[in-house]
């Protein structure tokens, strides 16, 4: 290879290198560096090295006697974020799969219409959508009024500002992200295989378990990642639906950069979130590439 060739290659790669550096490596670097500094008195940071930010992710120091204890609040939020995100993913699978199946088995001409219906919420502002869900389950919201009106309950059910409310909001917001990849996988599915299975004495359930699900699995896994990752970092939905009672990681980070005035802790929490997402992605790639070994028996 000549020198001019090498130069040309570098020149062609330059835009990508600049974009990645500017928008990915640099900001992450800043966050990483900040996580090892000391909080400033009115926000921001002092340029003094400290591991307190990372320490506070999991532990807290008693301000009176300096004893160290595990931070129940932070761990609670961390666990809640992971659990709520997993449950959201599970619920979107349970509702998204039949939905995608229904759409993929409509006549070709009708499929676009159904897909359009699924994606409409996508074109709507997230805040507006979330507030709409809130409107449904508030104490004087649609559900409670109907139930009260029918005489089924005599006092409004308190649904807002709970894990349930957050789950409802996130499921609603992220459902299309599950339906789309699962739909794509089902559309590619060769229905003659289901026919073959049915011919070979398999019941519908056996066909679903042994033929259909394994073959649309990549779509379900892709959908799970698409739902799980933004769920983990969700901010708007838990803020509106959970309030201060059902905080998630995104809200905790926001708190540190705002009222908490602890930027290093916020930065450390951000990195923690990134690592969690990374772990999920590694799990995803291992699941999709290691399929060969998993199909025995």
């Amino acid at each position: 290879m000549t020198g001019a060739d090498t130069l040309r290659r570098w020149a062609l790669a330059l835009p990508a290198v600049v974009v990645i550096t500017l928008f990915s490596i640099l900001p992450l670097g800043v966050v990483l560096v900040y996580s090892f500094l000391t909080p400033g008195d009115f926000g921001n940071v002092k340029w003094i090295f400290s591991t307190d930010g990372w320490f506070s992710v999991l532990f807290e120091r008693n301000i009176f006697d300096d004893t160290i204890a595990i931070s129940d609040a932070n761990i609670g939020i961390l666990v809640r974020s992971i659990v709520l995100s997993l449950i959201t993913t599970l619920i979107t699978v349970i509702f998204g799969l039949p939905t995608a199946w229904f759409i993929a088995t409509r006549p070709v001409a009708q499929r676009n219409f159904w897909m359009f219906l699924i994606t409409i919420p996508f074109w709507t502002n997230l805040l507006v959508r979330t507030i709409a869900v809130q409107e449904m389950i508030r104490s004087d919201g649609v559900f409670n009024r109907i139930l009260l009106g029918l005489g089924i309950i005599h006092e409004p059910i308190q649904m807002m500002f709970s894990n349930f409310a957050v789950l409802l909001g996130m499921t609603y917001v992220f459902l299309p992200l599950m339906v789309l990849p699962v739909y794509a996988a089902i559309e590619k599915f060769d229905f003659r295989l289901a026919e073959a299975s049915y011919d070979l004495y398999a019941s519908r359930l056996f066909t679903l378990r042994r033929v259909i699900l394994p073959l649309i699995r990549p779509g379900v896994i892709a959908g799970s990642i698409l739902v799980f990752v933004p769920s983990l970092g969700a901010y708007v939905t838990p803020r509106i639906m959970g309030g201060g009672k059902s905080m998630m990681l995104g809200n905790l980070i926001d708190l540190q950069f705002g009222q908490g005035r602890n930027w290093p802790l916020g930065a450390a929490l951000s990195i923690t979130l990134t690592v969690l997402v990374l772990l999920a992605l590694i799990w995803y790639t291992r699941l999709t590439s290691g399929r060969k070994e998993r199909n025995h028996g």
């Binding site: 295989l193 026919e195 019941s203 033929v211 199909n295």
Partner: protein, 354 residues
Amino acid sequence: MLDIRGLSKRFGYGKGEVTALHEVSFSIAEGEFFTLLGPSGCGKTTLLRLIAGFTGPSGGSLVLDGKDIAAMPPNQRPVNTVFQSYALFPHMTVGQNVAFALEAQGRPRSEIDPAVDKMLTLVQLLHLKNRKSSELSGGQQQRVALARALVAKPRILLLDEPLSALDMKLRKDMQIELKRLQRETGLTFIFVTHDQEEALTMSDRIAVMSGGHVQQIATPRELYDRPANRFVAGFIGESNFLSAKASAGVVEVGEGRVALADAPDGPVTLMIRPEHVVLSANAPDALELQATVAQLVFFGTDTHVHLVLADGTRLVARVQNALHGGQSLNEGERITISLPAKALRVVRDEEVAA
């Protein structure tokens, strides 16, 4: 063993209604290699799908071993299918594909494993047991599909144009292989194809179908020698057709005449195979006609002689190429040809239709 009684199938509603199968009735015997032969759209695949249970009939019944199975779902019928696309499960190995039917039936592992090995040995694929089905060649996939459909010992094996995706050489090998498998297992095969050669070489009996009707059911030999109508004659092998007039057991074509006992009075259509046309005048008991040699086409083992009669009717004669040339013909030459009475067949012009 399988009685098909007045089976019909219609698709669509109202004006868009299409009848794919018109009240078909016939029986298939135990251990028979039975072929449904016809051009695309003749209803043969519809009939196969009805027997498999993928679609329900619009009318009639399907009696297997004395029991009507027409309303039974496919997974309860002791009938398995080898699909045209093979439809092997791409996420499974060869062994898992073959084991599928037995697992679906809930058989114990101790019974499944030896059965799968035995089946794979039968189709000579035991060495590929752990290979993914998507990593096999077309011929190998074909064998896996066969093993998968045979492993649960169905009463009937349905084969939907299973050889159409293979190349010529492989197809010939598989024809022999299929016939061998059928003999070894003693199973009843119902084979669907549009390839007449495939049908003739493999079948015990053939049902020739067209327009949703069965035109004729006969052994390959009978089908070739005594086609029931013009459609069957034209579809099976090559045929020459002549318009003739018959009266009192004598048929007349132009200047030639010959006694043909089974000819009904009036205008009739005669059929003769190209290999039975004699290119000389001295055939006894034959229809003698004047013809012009229009074209000679060399085919290696034989030569096709294209002839034109005085009334413009075109005939083809097939002459075996002798070692020393034999009689030599030239294009444009006028000759006398003979059509032996024993090779002439009176065929009905109209096919079976609604």
